[in-house]
Assembly symmetry: C2
Homo-oligomer: 280 residues x 2
């Protein structure tokens, strides 16, 4: 069911890649898992799901974030899925911000995308079930991501607040219904009825969140990020959070851009943030 593609020792634990046929996306999906040292059936560990941004695969975060040393210390597994369905049979476009590598963590409703582009179901249901079946992990989960993946992490946590102890994001697309990346993706994946887009918009979802469904949220955003003003709009998210007293902490980080150098600078703080909630 799971095909092991690689196994590499790192920081005393293991980085492994797997592929499997997905019932959500109807194609072969690849994901990576980091298992910290000491993880075993008698010592199960909690999981942080990491959702990557546009153009990424399961590899970018694992290779570039510098996260595994701290995750090893804290005893947290990390699961990094791919960012979309892939393959010759999967409809694509010749652009970096739509199609393969750009699944936007939603369930598409529009042909020809609705057969394969069901990353929401994959991340929320299929992947955790698979991970909990095959690896020495507990059912305690946190979720984080970068850019498009930060959008995915926040949307998924806001819609499933009891499933995650905490959520965080780097440079997330906070309000996709109001930015070019979101407009392009949502109109092609979800159609022209913008009412349906709100199900995948963190600002809209947060507006309608009752305090019973609040969960700790941390966002870091570089103020030298070239996508900040047109695409990311963290001020829209903080405005909603302030309105309803949602427990969001936004860290504007002076001088940082949109790259993995930014993520690597603050990933340890995100891991500690999630650890403080995962262990309680």
């Amino acid at each position: 069911m799971l095909d092991n593609l690689s196994a590499t020792k790192v920081n005393g634990g293991w980085h492994k890649q797997y592929s499997h046929i997905s019932t959500s996306t109807h194609c072969q999906m690849r994901f990576a898992i980091f298992l910290p040292p000491g993880a075993s059936q008698t010592n199960k560990v909690p999981v942080l799901y990491w959702l990557s941004g546009l153009t990424c695969t399961d590899e970018n975060f694992m290779q570039k974030a510098g996260a595994l040393k701290k995750a090893a210390e804290l005893g947290i597994a990390i699961v990094a899925p791919d960012t979309s369905p892939r393959g010759d049979n999967v409809p694509d476009q010749d652009s970096y911000d739509f199609g393969q590598g750009a699944g936007f963590y939603l369930n598409a409703t529009q042909a020809p995308y609705n057969t394969h582009y069901n990353m929401y179901d994959y991340i929320v249901h299929e992947l955790p079930a698979l991970v909990e079946q095959h690896f020495p992990v507990t059912t305690k989960k946190a979720i984080s991501g970068h850019s498009m993946g930060g959008h995915g992490a926040m949307v998924i946590a806001l819609r499933n607040p009891k499933s995650y102890t905490s959520v965080s994001a780097f440079s997330p697309i906070t309000n996709p219904i109001n930015c070019p990346w979101g407009h392009k993706a949502f109109s092609l994946y979800l159609g022209d009825d913008q009412m349906k887009w709100a199900n995948y918009d963190s600002c809209e979802l947060m507006k309608n969140t009752s305090s019973d469904d609040f969960l700790p949220m941390r966002v870091d955003q570089g103020d030298a990020d070239s996508f900040l003003i047109d695409q990311l709009k963290p001020e829209n998210l903080t405005a909603v959070a302030k309105q309803i007293n949602f427990p969001l902490t936004l860290h504007m980080q002076a001088g940082y851009d949109h790259s993995y150098y930014f993520i690597s600078s603050f990933i340890d703080e995100h891991l500690s943030f999630h650890h403080s909630h995962l262990r309680s």
Copy 2:
């Protein structure tokens, strides 16, 4: 003279890339520098030179080693040069282990390689002079590298022991005159006279090192490294070190392979090792 290609904030410091016309290699060369927070003309910092392995550029270490957090803490600059001359005019071969991306940190004597393939002079003389002229660094230097770059770091330190406070290597080619990678590279770059090869062989150089020229050397080697037996041969180096009491510490690391996941697992220890010598 130096053309700045990028500047990215990371861990409170800066990662920058530069290109320049090299007088050693007679082509445009690119290198990266990490400057830790607080480095300035009134607070100059020492430099660790990092030499990468086959196929790498200035980018692999900076993106994948996870070294910059610790370097920022310790106040060490890191300079990562490219692994060979590059360009359409630079003779090349269609193989990963010779030509562009595979300069072996030597001065070639054989045509058509001897015009451009002078990475030894570039690393030993030209690059440090350039770095010390343009950046807020002291003349205190350490050197490290991976695989072909571990070979380069050890050869350069053994031949210039007063120029470096310390040397380290991950998975180095310790005895290139006795392995396939070395045989191929040295015969094409240096010709068939194997006497001349000894100038670029760590084991041969160490044999003839007097105790006045000893410097601290740390080597880490994974025992699951697929190149260990045929190409790397750390046992040849430890045999020489034992014979002459050279201050080499070899750490065989159980279960680790040849990848950057291995480097990232132990780079903090290498930085601390160099820091202890750079500050004294």
